[in-house]
């Protein structure tokens, strides 16, 4: 399935349109998306810091997801680096 991942915060510096499109199997979990994004980042993002992704969470529009959760049916996700609001 086609997954579109929105980028926020420090991840915005890596892609001009602040999103990444990845192809995953229908049974893929959030953990698989994490691995796929890490591979994408290693290839396409020259200054990528793996620690940033390691401390980042994935989310749908409704909630932060766990590693074992399935990918949202609409394929829409976001990667959330450590937050710093307020």
């Amino acid at each position: 399935m086609n997954v579109e991942i929105k980028l926020f915060g420090a991840f915005r510096d890596y892609e001009a349109d602040a999103r990444v499109r990845l192809e995953l199997t229908p049974e893929a979990t959030v953990a698989d998306v994490r691995s796929a994004l890490a591979s994408h980042a290693t290839v396409h993002w020259p200054n990528f810091r793996p620690a940033l992704l390691a401390h980042s969470a994935f989310a749908s529009e409704r909630a932060v997801l766990r590693e074992g959760d399935p990918i949202p049916a609409d394929g829409q996700m976001a990667v959330l680096p450590p937050v710093s609001g307020g």
Binding site: F8, G9, A57, A59, E61, R66, V83, S84, G85
Partner: protein, 157 residues
Amino acid sequence: MERHHCAVVDIAQARLDPAAALEFVSDPGFGGITMFVGRVRDLNHGRVVTGVSYDMFDVLALNGFTDIAARGEAQFGPQLKLYIAHAKGRLGIGDLAVVVAAGTPHRDEAFRACRMAIEAVKHESPVWKQEHYADGDSVWSEGCSLCVHADGEGGHG
């Protein structure tokens, strides 16, 4: 009318409004209102700051604010009005970044509900701050990791 007001305010369109927050959480049965206002400081970790940019995952943030309000009701009962608003975009020194207000019958609950809400906004909401410094540099702030571990605990980075 809803008992809680949750908003993301684009600084290009409007400003956060503490007076509106006070008004919203007021009620003839409420004797206590506590409000927290977060403003952009001119100095952070010893560096001169000229402004900050807030990035936000708006829809998830709003859902999160609503969850925080629900948690407030679970903790303090239905005699509670909460106002949670966060700015996004480029802010200057002194600009308001966040306004949280809680109205309750008595002051202890107002203080505790307001504190709970601002802590939750700070630690859980999908908001990212980039600081701009006098020397031209810009840095995304270190923050709290939202990673949900297998044991169900959220970690703070």
